[in-house]
Amino acid sequence: MRIGVPKETASGERRVALVPEVAARLVAAGFEVVVERAAGETAAFSDELYAGAGARLVDAAEAWSADAVVKVQKPSVEETARLREGAVLIAFLQPLTDRDTTERLAQRGVVGFAMESIPRITRAQPMDALSSQSTVAGYKAVLIAADRLPRFFPMLMTAAGTVAPAKVLVLGAGVAGLQAIATAHRLGAVVSGFDVRPVVKEQVESLGATFLELGIRGEETAGGYARELSPEEQQRQQAELEERIPDFDAVITTALVPGRPAPRLIPASAVRSMRHGSVIVDLAAEAGGNCELTEPGREAVVEGVTLVGLLNLPSTMPAHASQLYARNVLALLQHLAPDGELRLDFGDEITAGACVTRREEVPA
């Protein structure tokens, strides 16, 4: 079975779906791996490394015509056309928000596996690209916040006086949020975390941070995700946050509800109440942002407050983000093709859950 790794073409995307180390493992497992030239360059993986791993360097067309194509971002319209009929495609396909792509893929008879649709069950953890990329995003968000803040994160007592530690608030303590908490804590900030899921309090505290009590408790769904708050609850949350937020120097928001626009946590008035120089990093920008004033993809200063709505943070740390993603893909491939040949068992929870298009039809 031949696996193709085309170069990512989405703007700003520096990751690659397969890194040389993983390519080598696939080759060893009996797969044939073809990599588009320069596919790994932006992620600091040179063509030589791929060649050394036993992959063949090819042009785009050949990479796209493989039995299985692995990518990070969903394919563009042109790219979809390059896929062989019946081919397997693995990527973030955004099935919940981008019906067009899925339909196109289905029409072309492509068997599409969406990395974000892999069920979050224990057994599927090695394939969980949402987790691995959120880890990168959470870490990076803190670096960005620290970089933009005109202040130190840690406390310093020096001959020129004492520098107070930055107060950092992390809203939404899922994978990215927890990583952000851990990283900010490491840097010496005074960190508070908040989430609507009740179990998170202990998790936040297990990282040495404090849990911000807002008096709002949501529920956890079966998959471990949060249920969306009711409008009144949202109202209360916004009001509470507006009162507490001026205390903080940096706010990192990561709150998401799958398939829904990101919950609005920080109203414009709350931003205005913050001190000059404060920073908000909104990791939910892609889903509309947790902050009312977030402009997805942009960084802006609003009344002295820096609002970072940058998208695709994992792509800014492409080497490790790609490594982790490639391992996720590897785990999925090993699941789908246990001994080098595809053996799709749609009775399997993972295969069925991740598969979003299947020859001519979009599964419900």
Binding site: T122, V175, Q203, S206
Partner: protein
């Protein structure tokens, strides 16, 4: 037996020497490094006491004595050499019974000798000899029953019947009445029913107690055998017997109390609890289809201190307890003792990717001591102790063995392949996945219940004092 005879005073001095040996011997038992020599010092004291006794002028029936000693040695030595390590508890029970029986017999014989000499039998000697016979008898039969239970000659389960307590009280009353009668009448005969009743009481005393509680019972009987020795010492006015017996009595008593405490129960509960059922303190040891074994920091400390390789398996509980600094301290302490310490980090230990890394880095654990699952798993077979600190799901063998389990298929840390496993957690509650962990019922697993930070700190202290 020897050509010369020492004076009684000299022999008494020898007894003092023997007593000093016992004291020293027990003192040396307080450290594993000197314990073995301590036992030998005690044995040497015993040898001196016996040897000097033999030189007493009044001991003239040499052959009888020699035969007795030889027979005892011939029976005792091979048994001790050949018994399997796992059968040690039974062996100790049996030996204990022998000691108690000897005390009962010596006291009876002495009573038999002294009773017909009216006026010559002071009250204290009388009381002491009868007490020795009574306690020795109980020790003998009780120990035999304990042995039988442990050896599974009879069922290890508690044997109960109606009016058990009444029966016990009756037998004990008979024994005491015999003693009173013997004291008042100074009639040799009474000692026979007395010892008889003692033997019956010993049986009744032990049969209702379950096999798992036998170690406590043996400690109780150990204390009894010491006391019967003390009583015999008062009869014979022999300081070696008094001191030796007292030491044994103190040891038995303390061990009884400590063991009962370690089981989270009162002595009374152990000894009389079985009349009802054995109630397990809630939250300290529920069961995962089978009993779990709770342990103490001291015991774990010695396991760790004398291990060659220890692998620490941190989990979410370590994070909750914020025990990272204490764990680091424990590892330092073990490394100082040249134990090889590694950390086995499961990919999903904790609640976020890299959770354990963050915490261990905070405690400055060197990165090269952190082992990924794939690297450490093949090594568990050579690991003496796997110390699981607040991890649960990531060690759950159900992921390997039980296709129905929600975590089936997840690769786990094979701690169950280690020679022994110690799990630190607060209760029998499950972890993230909400499922039972059969590891805890594994015979080689011991549970150290409590907050991980507190437990690990206790381990650090305990390791230091090993």
């Amino acid at each position: 037996m020897v050509a010369f005879a020492f004076s009684e005073n000299t022999v008494n001095l020898a007894y003092v020497f023997a007593a000093v040996c016992f004291v020293f011997g027990i003192k040396m038992l307080s450290s594993p490094t000197t314990a073995r020599w301590g036992n030998r010092v005690s044995a040497a004291g015993m040898l001196v006491a016996v040897a000097f006794t033999l030189t007493l002028a009044e001991v003239d029936r040499y052959w009888l004595v020699a035969a007795g000693l030889a027979l005892g040695a011939v029976l005792g030595a091979p048994a001790a050499r050949l018994v399997k390590m796992t059968a040690m508890p039974q062996m100790v029970a049996l030996l204990n019974g022998a000691g108690g029986g000897a005390a009962a017999l010596v006291a009876s014989a002495e009573f038999h000798r002294l009773a017909p000499l009216p006026g010559d039998l002071p009250a204290d000697t009388l009381v002491a000899s009868l007490a020795s016979a009574l306690i020795g008898g109980v020790t003998l039969s009780g120990s035999i029953v304990a042995f039988a239970k442990l050896q599974e000659l009879v069922s290890g389960r508690p044997v109960t019947f109606q009016h058990q307590q009444a029966a016990n009280a009756a037998v004990l009353a008979v024994a005491l009445l015999c003693a009173v009668a013997a004291g008042l009448t100074e009639e040799r005969f009474w000692v026979v029913p007395l010892v008889g009743a003692a033997l019956v009481f010993g049986v009744l005393f032990v049969i209702p107690i379950g096999g798992a509680d036998m170690p406590v019972v043996i400690a109780v009987l150990n204390a009894f055998s010491g006391l019967s020795g003390v009583a015999a010492g008062f009869v014979l006015d022999n300081n070696a017997l008094i001191i030796g017996g007292t030491l044994v009595g103190a040891s038995g008593t303390l061990l009884t109390l400590l063991m009962a405490r370690a089981m989270g129960r009162s002595v009374a509960n152990v000894v009389f609890g079985a009349f009802g059922q054995v109630a397990v303190a809630p939250g300290t040891a529920a069961t995962v289809d089978g009993a779990v074994r709770a342990t103490t920091p001291d015991d774990v400390a010695v396991m760790l201190a004398y291990a060659k390789r220890v692998v620490i398996v941190p989990g979410y509980g370590l994070a909750v307890a914020q025990a990272q600094h204490d764990v680091r301290k424990l590892a330092d302490e073990l490394e100082r003792r040249r134990v090889d310490v590694r950390y086995a980090i499961h990919p999903v230990a904790g609640r976020m990717p890299g959770h354990m890394n963050v915490l261990l880095a905070e405690a400055n654990v060197p990165y090269d001591q952190l082992y990924e699952m794939d690297r450490i798993n093949p090594e568990f077979e050579q690991v003496d102790v796997a110390l699981v600190v607040g991890a649960n799901d990531v060690t759950n063998p159900a992921a390997r063995n039980e296709p129905g389990s929600p975590i089936y298929g997840m690769p786990i840390l094979d701690v169950d392949h280690a020679k022994s496993v110690v799990v630190l957690k607060r209760s029998m509650n499950p972890g993230f996945a909400g499922i039972d962990n059969p590891l805890y019922a594994d015979p080689k697993t011991a549970m150290l219940f409590g907050d991980a930070k507190v437990s690990v700190a206790a381990l650090v202290d305990a390791v230091k004092s090993v």
